[in-house]
Symmetry: C2
Subunit: 363 residues, 2 copies
C-alpha cells in the first residue's frame, strides 16, 4: 500500500492506494467521528461492493442511498435524495458520508456533505480509474445544472481517500480508457517523464496489469495532490492547469447531451484541440501535436471532435468558468509537460474549432 | 453612520448602520470585484427598494431575481431560480450577489453565492429588523428541506453588510415585533445591561423612534459579531448560544407549517419555554421567568406555545441539529444575561412541553 498526503494544513488528508483496501477497517475508523455513516453509491457499483464495505463498517449505524448510475442524474433533484435519506434517518452533525462509486457519486456525496447541516464529514472510496486519479482528490464537488456542467457546488475536502485497485477489475473497458485520459493529462501539463513512461506502459495499462495500474494511479495522485496543495481554491492559475482540454470537453459533453460522451473521452479530444490551438499560437510544433494524438489513440481514446459548428462550441464554452471580463481563457501547452493559462484570440480559436474531424488524422 | 467589524481574519467584513445608506454607492463599490451584479429580492421588497439600489449600482451590469415572499419558498426549487438567472446571464466567477430583503432572501442568496461556481462574492442589504440584527451577520446561509428547517446550507460570510434603518418604515408591525424577539435574545444570553435598556426603551422601539432603533440594532450586531468572531463555524458551544429558544421555535414552525408563525414569534415563545425549563432545572428563579415573559409581552410577542402534544414537539425537536449521540442538547439560561448549552433530562423537558398555554400566564 502506498500512502500520499494532500498537504492542506488543517484540511490535510491521506490517500491510500493498494489492493484489498475495501476490507481495511483500520483505514476508515480513525476518520469517522460519530456513529452514523451514510454510504452513497450507484445502481452499478452497489451490487458489486456495497456489502463488503458494510461489513468493513460493521459496528456503525450504516444507512445507504443508491443513486441511478450516470452523469444524467448528477443534478439537484438527485442530490435531494441524499438529503432526504439523511433526514429520514435523523443523521446529525457528527455523521460521515462515504462515497462509493465514480466521479458522479463522489461529486454529489461531497457536495451533500458540504451542505448537509452546513457541513459534515466525508470519505472518498472511488471505484473508477477516472475518479481515483482525478475527482476524488482535491475537494471539487457539485452537481450539474440544465444550463451548465458543475455550476453548483463547493470546495469540500474528504477526510481520507481509499483507492482499492482491485475494484478496477469490474470496470468496463470504455471507462478504463476514459480514466486514462486524465492520467495522460498529468503527463502533458506538468510531468514529461510520466508522459514518456506512459507511452511505454500503455499496453500493460490497458490489460490492467496490477503494478502498472497502481504506479499510474500513484503518480497521477502525486501530481494532483501537488497542484491542489499549491492552489486549493483555484485562486491562482495553478489549479486551473488541471483543466487542460476541459473547456473543449465540457462543450462536447454539453453539446452532445450529458452522458453521450464520457467525461474522459470528451477531455481526451479536448486535449488534442488544446494542443492544436497551442500549435497555432506557435508554442508547440506539429510533432508535439502528433505525439499527443498518438498517445490518445494508443489508449483507445477518441481524437475526432463531434460534428458541432464553431458557434455551437463557442456557445457552450462561453458559459464555462474560464471567462474573465468577457475574454476567454484556456489552458494550453507551452511545451509537452508544461501547461499555461492564456487568453485566446477568437480568430485562432475558430480555426481549431473548424478543423473538426481533420484533427483526428495525422497530417 | 456606525460601522462595526466582524473580526474573522481574511474573511473580516464591516457592518454599516445608518440612514440613507441604500443610496451610498461608496459603501458597496469597494466590495464588488467584477462588472456583474445580481440583486436577489422578493415580491414585497423589490417594488419598494429595488430601483433605488439599481440606481446606486448604475455602472454595473445588474440583473435581478425576484423570489416570492415567504419562508414557504425557502427551498431548493426556488434556490434553483437564482442559479438559472445567473446562468442565463452567463455570470462568471467575478460576479457579486446582493441580497435585498429579509432573512429568507439573505439565507438563499448567501447559499447561492456559496454554491454558484463553488463560490462567488456576496453582499447583504437586510430590510427587516430580524435580518438586520441576526441573519445578515455571521454567514449562516441555506434553505429548508421538507423534513427540516435550515438543513441544507453553507457558512458563507458576506463582503459587507449595509443596514439602512430607513427601510424599517415600511416593515409591517408584526415583522418589527418578530425582529425584536432576536434583539431581546442578545440581552437574555449575554448582555444584561442591554436587556435592562430594552425594558425601558421598548415603547420607543415599537413606535420606531429612529435613534432607539439604531441603538438596538447596533448593540445587537455588536453582540452577534462578538459571538461569530469567537466561533465562526459553531464548533464550540459559543455560537450555539445564539440558538436560545430556537429548538423550541423550530418545532413550533415545523409543527404548525412554515410561515404560519413568523420565525421571531416562534423564537419568542421558544425563549420563554427555555426559561421555564431553566427554572425547572434550578438555574433561574420564577422572577427571572416572569421578567422574560414580561419583556416579550411588552414587545407584543406571543408567549403561549401552540397546542401541539409533547410527542409532536419532541418529534420536531429530534431532527434538529442539537442532538449529539442521541441526547438532546438545548440552550438554557444560567442567569438572565448568561446562556449555556446543556443536556436536558427527557422527563424535565416533558414538563415544560406539557405546561403549554399556562406558560403564557403569570402565576
Amino acid at each position: 500500500m502506498h500512502t500520499l498526503e494532500v498537504a492542506l494544513g488543517a484540511r490535510s488528508y491521506p490517500i491510500h492506494i493498494g489492493t484489498g483496501l475495501l476490507d481495511r477497517a483500520d483505514l476508515l475508523l480513525s476518520h469517522i467521528r460519530g456513529r452514523q455513516v451514510l454510504i452513497v453509491s450507484n445502481s452499478t457499483v452497489a451490487p458489486l461492493y456495497l456489502e463488503r464495505l458494510r461489513k468493513t463498517l460493521s459496528g456503525y449505524l450504516v444507512a445507504e442511498c443508491i443513486l441511478p448510475d450516470g452523469e444524467a442524474f448528477k443534478d439537484m433533484a438527485h442530490l435531494d435524495l441524499i438529503f432526504t435519506t439523511l433526514l429520514q434517518h435523523r443523521f446529525n452533525r457528527d455523521c460521515t458520508l462515504v462515497a462509493l462509486g465514480g466521479g458522479v457519486v463522489g461529486d454529489m456525496t461531497g457536495f451533500a456533505a458540504a451542505a448537509y447541516q452546513r457541513g459534515v464529514d466525508f470519505i472518498q472510496i472511488p471505484t473508477t480509474l477516472l475518479s481515483q486519479v482525478d475527482s476524488s482528490v482535491g475537494g471539487k464537488t457539485g452537481v450539474n445544472h440544465a444550463l451548465g456542467k458543475n455550476m453548483i457546488g463547493a470546495f469540500k475536502q474528504p477526510n481520507v481517500v481509499v483507492i482499492d485497485t482491485d475494484v478496477l477489475s469490474t470496470l468496463p473497458d470504455r471507462e478504463l480508457k476514459a480514466g486514462i485520459a486524465e492520467v495522460i493529462k498529468y503527463g502533458l501539463i506538468r510531468d514529461l517523464p510520466f508522459l514518456e513512461w506512459l507511452e511505454g506502459a500503455m499496453p500493460k495499462l490497458l490489460t490492467r496489469e496490477p503494478h502498472t495500474l497502481a504506479e499510474a494511479i500513484r503518480r497521477s495522485c502525486e501530481n494532483k495532490a501537488a497542484v491542489v496543495a499549491a492552489d486549493e481554491l483555484e485562486q491562482k492559475d495553478v489549479r486551473a492547469l488541471l483543466n487542460l482540454g476541459h473547456t473543449f470537453g465540457h462543450a462536447i459533453e454539453t453539446g452532445m447531451g450529458y452522458g453521450v460522451w464520457l467525461h474522459g473521452e470528451a477531455v481526451a479530444t479536448g486535449m488534442l484541440m488544446a494542443a492544436d490551438l497551442s500549435m497555432r499560437l506557435g508554442w508547440i510544433d506539429e510533432a508535439a501535436v502528433t505525439r499527443t494524438r498518438d498517445i490518445l489513440i494508443k489508449a483507445g481514446l477518441p481524437v475526432t471532435p463531434p460534428d458541432l459548428s464553431a458557434d455551437e462550441y463557442l456557445e457552450h464554452m462561453a458559459v464555462d468558468k474560464k471567462v474573465k471580463d468577457g475574454q476567454l481563457h484556456l489552458v494550453l501547452l507551452k511545451h509537452l509537460g508544461e501547461a499555461v493559462v492564456s487568453k485566446v484570440p477568437a480568430a485562432v480559436l475558430k480555426q481549431t474549432l473548424e478543423t473538426g474531424a481533420a484533427l483526428g488524422v495525422s497530417v
